[in-house]
C-alpha cells in the first residue's frame, strides 16, 4: 500500500511538471527585479488578441500559432488568459477573483506577450498596450482597435492586402513608416497620432477627437471628415478628394497634388 501511495505521488508530480510548462524568470523593473511566470501556448488559428490589462505585445516570426505569455508572479491569481473558439486570445482579470487592492501591473510593469501568427486580423486594447511589430504578417483585413486607455503601435511596416481599419476612443499613437493596403480607414473619437506613407487606393478618415495625422498618400480617393481639433495633413497625390470640416481641426491638403 505504501509503495502504491509513493508511486501515485511520484506519478502526480510528473504529470504536474509536464503540464505546467512554466518557468520563473526575473525581469528588471525600475531599480529592482521581480519574478515573472512565463508560459507557452499554441493556437494555430489565432486571429484575434484582446488585451484588458497592460500588455507589451511583440509580433514575431516563428512557429505558427506559438504564444508566450509572461506575467508578474504576485499577480498570477488575478490574471486570466486563454484561447476562445480556437481563434481568440484574451487577457484580463479573473472574474471570480476580486481584483487586488494594489496592483503592480502598469505600462512599466506589463504582461509580456510574444505571438507568432500570420492570420491576425484584430487587436483590441482596453488598457495600456504597446505593440511592437517585428514581423509584418497579418491577414488580408486588419483592425486595430483601442477603447479606453492607450495603444501604441511601433512598426516599420504593416501590411494587410485588403484593408486596415483603425478605431480609437482612447489615446492611440502609431509610429509606423509604411501602411501597405488597398483601403485605409481611420476613425478617431479620442486622440490619434499617425504618420508615415500609405499605398492605400481609398482612404477614409473620420475624426471627432484630437488628431495629429501626417500621411503621405498616392490614392484614388480621399475622404476626410473632421469635427474635432488638431492637425490633419495629407500630402502626395490623390484622385477625388472630399473634405468636410465642422470643427477647429486644421486640414492641410496644400501639399496634395491632384492626379
Amino acid at each position: 500500500m505504501k509503495r502504491m501511495i509513493i508511486m501515485a505521488v511520484l506519478l502526480l508530480a510528473a504529470i504536474t511538471t509536464t503540464n505546467a510548462q512554466a518557468r520563473i524568470e526575473k525581469r528588471s523593473v525600475g531599480a529592482g527585479e521581480i519574478d515573472y511566470i512565463t508560459k507557452e501556448l499554441t493556437c494555430e488559428e489565432l486571429t484575434q488578441i484582446n488585451c484588458s490589462l497592460p500588455v507589451e505585445l511583440r509580433l514575431v516570426d516563428g512557429e505558427e500559432g506559438h504564444i508566450e505569455i509572461s506575467y508578474p508572479m504576485d499577480e498570477h491569481r488575478y490574471i486570466r488568459y486563454g484561447i476562445n473558439d480556437g481563434t481568440k486570445l484574451s487577457i484580463g482579470r479573473d472574474g471570480f477573483q476580486k481584483a487586488p487592492k494594489k496592483t503592480i501591473l502598469s505600462a512599466d510593469t506589463p504582461i509580456y506577450l510574444t505571438v507568432s501568427s500570420s492570420k491576425l486580423c484584430y487587436i483590441l486594447s482596453t488598457q495600456d498596450t504597446e505593440v511592437f511589430v517585428e514581423s509584418d504578417r497579418f491577414a488580408d483585413e486588419l483592425m486595430l482597435a483601442n477603447s479606453g486607455y492607450s495603444l501604441s503601435i511601433i512598426a516599420k511596416s504593416i501590411t494587410a492586402k485588403e484593408s486596415i481599419k483603425i478605431h480609437t476612443t482612447g489615446t492611440m499613437t502609431c509610429e509606423v513608416e509604411e501602411w501597405n493596403t488597398d483601403n485605409l480607414q481611420l476613425f478617431n473619437n479620442g486622440y490619434l497620432y499617425i504618420d508615415g506613407t500609405t499605398t492605400a487606393k481609398h482612404i477614409k478618415h473620420s475624426s471627432l477627437g484630437i488628431d495629429s495625422t501626417r500621411l503621405t498618400v498616392d490614392c484614388e480617393s480621399l475622404e476626410v471628415f473632421a469635427k474635432g481639433e488638431g492637425i490633419i495633413s495629407y500630402k502626395g497625390t490623390a484622385g477625388n478628394i472630399t473634405i468636410n470640416s465642422l470643427g477647429k481641426t486644421t486640414i492641410r491638403t496644400s501639399e496634395l497634388i491632384q492626379k
Partner: protein, 132 residues
C-alpha cells in the same frame, strides 16, 4: 533694344496670364479650419478622365464655407481682384449678396462664387477638352 523690350513685355504678359486667378486659387487651395471658433467647410475635388486614354478632361473643385465672415470677405476681395483679368465676366454685388462668374480661356477655366452673409460657395472648373 526694341526687341528686348518686346520680349520683356511678352514675358510680363505671359506671367500675368499664368497667375490670373492666383488670389482665388490661393484661397481655394488653402488649409481648411484652424480657427479658434471653428467653422464649417466642405471641399470636393474631382477629375473626369477619358476612359480610353486616362487623359484628364475636366477638373472640378467646390468649396462651401459657413460661419466665417472673414474668409467670406477674403473670397470677395480675391474675386474682385482677379476678375479684372478674365476674358468673360459677370458680377453682381447687391444687398449683401455677391455673385460673380469669371472665365479664362486656354484651358477654359470657369470660376463661380456666391457669397450670402457668411455662406460662401465657390465652384471652379478647368476644362481641358470639351465633352463630345
Amino acid at each position: 533694344m526694341k526687341r528686348l523690350l518686346i520680349i520683356a513685355m511678352f514675358a510680363i504678359a505671359s506671367v500675368a496670364e499664368g497667375s490670373a486667378q492666383e488670389h482665388i486659387d490661393a484661397l481655394v487651395n488653402r488649409d481648411i479650419g484652424g480657427s479658434r471658433s471653428g467653422y464649417m467647410c466642405t471641399k470636393r475635388t474631382a477629375v473626369k478622365r477619358d476612359p480610353d486614354t486616362g487623359e484628364i478632361i475636366k477638373r472640378v473643385t467646390e468649396v462651401v464655407i459657413r460661419d466665417n465672415k472673414e474668409l467670406a470677405k477674403q473670397f470677395v476681395e480675391a474675386f474682385k481682384t482677379d476678375i479684372q483679368t478674365a476674358e468673360v465676366s459677370e458680377e453682381s454685388d447687391k444687398r449683401n449678396i455677391y455673385i460673380a462668374t469669371a472665365i479664362w480661356l486656354d484651358p477654359k477655366r470657369i470660376y463661380n462664387i456666391s457669397v450670402t452673409g457668411d455662406v460662401v460657395v465657390v465652384n471652379v472648373q478647368t476644362i481641358y477638352r470639351e465633352d463630345e
